[in-house]
């Protein structure tokens, strides 16, 4: 059994240069520890490995029942030179939401 990030949290992607930042915000604060344990930077880097070279850093925001993931080398060189359709990577939050995690106990 597994659960998707989508089931527990919402997310938004932003861009700066060639770096994407994606927030992951719990609907319910009681899932924060579960996500802290399971939604590791390694797991996120793996989910993005076909898009971003990384590295991936994770910043906890307990006060906002959230995390901020900063994913480097993610935007095809950056907004101004990228050949991508989605040059800002706004749609990348949906890659995050689709990550599957083991079912919470």
């Amino acid at each position: 059994m597994s659960v998707r990030v989508y089931d527990l949290a919402h997310a938004r992607a932003g861009d700066k240069g060639n770096t994407s930042n994606i927030s992951v915000i719990c609907y319910d604060a009681k899932h924060w520890e579960f996500l802290e344990r399971e939604l590791t930077p390694e797991r996120v880097a793996n989910a993005f490995k076909h898009i971003a070279k990384g590295p991936v850093r994770r910043f906890p925001l307990r006060n906002l029942k959230a995390f901020n993931f900063v994913i480097e080398n993610a935007l095809g060189g950056g907004v101004t030179i990228s050949l991508a359709q989605d040059i800002h990577g706004k749609s990348l939050s949906n890659v995050m939401l689709a990550i599957e995690l083991p079912e919470p106990q």
Binding site: R12, N63, L64, N68
Partner: protein, 341 residues
């Protein structure tokens, strides 16, 4: 009507003489892009915008100013906050960050059917902030408008485009959002408290724009049986024809729109009924950029069967941007009032 104009963000004549500055993105010296430089603009802060407001001019025009600083400036002007008063700078900067993307905090860039409903999004209202002299802040939404403003929408916007949440560097302070509390204080009203900050840095961030060749692209559609196989075949044919003409590209990309243009991994995506093939490349030669769209359009006549709806070849100049940090004391920001009193 007098207009106060904020000048000094254009620092191209200054950085021209500082080839040793380091590009933040790749660690190389600015010298590497100076011959192709088109623009260099410092992100100015709220201090000079406050000066402009202090002239009493009803309209202020500025060059490049950091987004949250545009909102902090009227607070400095109205309340006389100083740059030593870090808790208030922090609160004002946090409010500016929440407001700077306008409707992104009132339900735009947020809604999701069945999951995050937003009422009447077509009439989405703009946000405002009620700010007191003590730095207390409540974010609100214009009355009788659609959209929603609550802790969820504010949280998404608060983290938006921030990297290290303990160190969001603006020209006015280094904001720390890790102690912020967002509290629902009524319908479409959210209180913001607990922002912290350290003093502003000794540098301005400068965006340096430079000419970096051309991007060319073309698109054509395939539908029905074997649509994806025909699109993939066409991509190979176009690439071969570009190669035959001796064109080279610094970067090249094939997208199957409807399948893998946003998140890649074509090998695991289900095949759609129809697909739009897109090829794009970046190159130093305008002719090579134009050839991409030209050859994609030629798939009507020279490619696999049943290609339809190719677009005209598209070419655009690339204005690439990299950044440097420039010591504040080298930047001469100033206010000039134009027009009759």
């Amino acid at each position: 009507m007098p207009v106060a104009v904020v000048l000094g963000d254009d620092v191209s004549s200054i950085v021209k003489h500082k080839p040793e500055l380091t590009l933040i993105e790749n660690g190389e010296p600015l010298e590497s892009i100076l011959p192709k430089m088109i623009s260099a603009n410092a992100y100015l802060g709220a201090d000079v915008v406050r000066e402009a407001l202090d002239t009493g001019a009803p309209i202020v025009l500025s060059g490049r100013v950091a987004d949250p600083s545009l909102f902090l400036a009227p607070m400095l002007h109205e309340f006389g906050w100083s740059y030593d008063d870090l808790p208030k700078l922090a609160q004002g900067t946090a409010a500016g960050h929440l407001l700077e993307c306008t409707a992104s905090v009132t339900g735009g860039c947020f809604g999701w059917p069945g999951k995050k409903e937003v009422p009447d999004l077509a009439h989405n209202g703009y946000p405002f902030a009620d700010i007191k002299a003590d730095g207390s802040i409540v974010i609100g939404k214009t009355p009788d408008t659609g959209g929603r403003l609550d802790v969820m929408t504010c949280t998404e916007q608060l983290i938006y485009e921030i990297h290290d949440p303990t160190a969001y560097i603006t020209p006015d302070c280094v904001l720390d959002i890790t102690g912020i509390s967002l509290t629902q204080e009524g319908n479409n009203r959210v209180g913001v408290s607990g922002a912290k900050a350290r003093p502003r840095t000794h540098t301005y961030k400068v965006n340096v724009g430079y000419a970096d060749g051309y991007i060319g692209e073309g698109e054509v559609s395939y539908g029905g049986i074997d649509a994806v196989a025909r699109a993939k075949w066409a991509a190979e044919i176009v690439k071969e024809r570009l190669k035959l003409q001796g064109f080279t590209y610094d970067d090249f990309r094939v997208d199957l729109i409807g399948m893998s243009s946003l998140h890649d991994q074509v090998e695991i995506r289900p095949e759609p009924y129809e697909v739009r093939l897109r090829l794009a490349g970046r190159t130093r030669q305008r002719k090579a950029a134009h050839a991409i769209g030209f050859e994609v359009r030629a798939m009507h006549m020279h490619g696999p069967g049943g290609a339809g709806g190719a677009c005209e070849p598209r070419v655009r100049d690339v204005l690439a941007v990299k950044s440097v940090l420039l010591p504040r004391n080298l930047v001469n920001s100033q206010v000039v009032v134009e027009g009759a009193q």
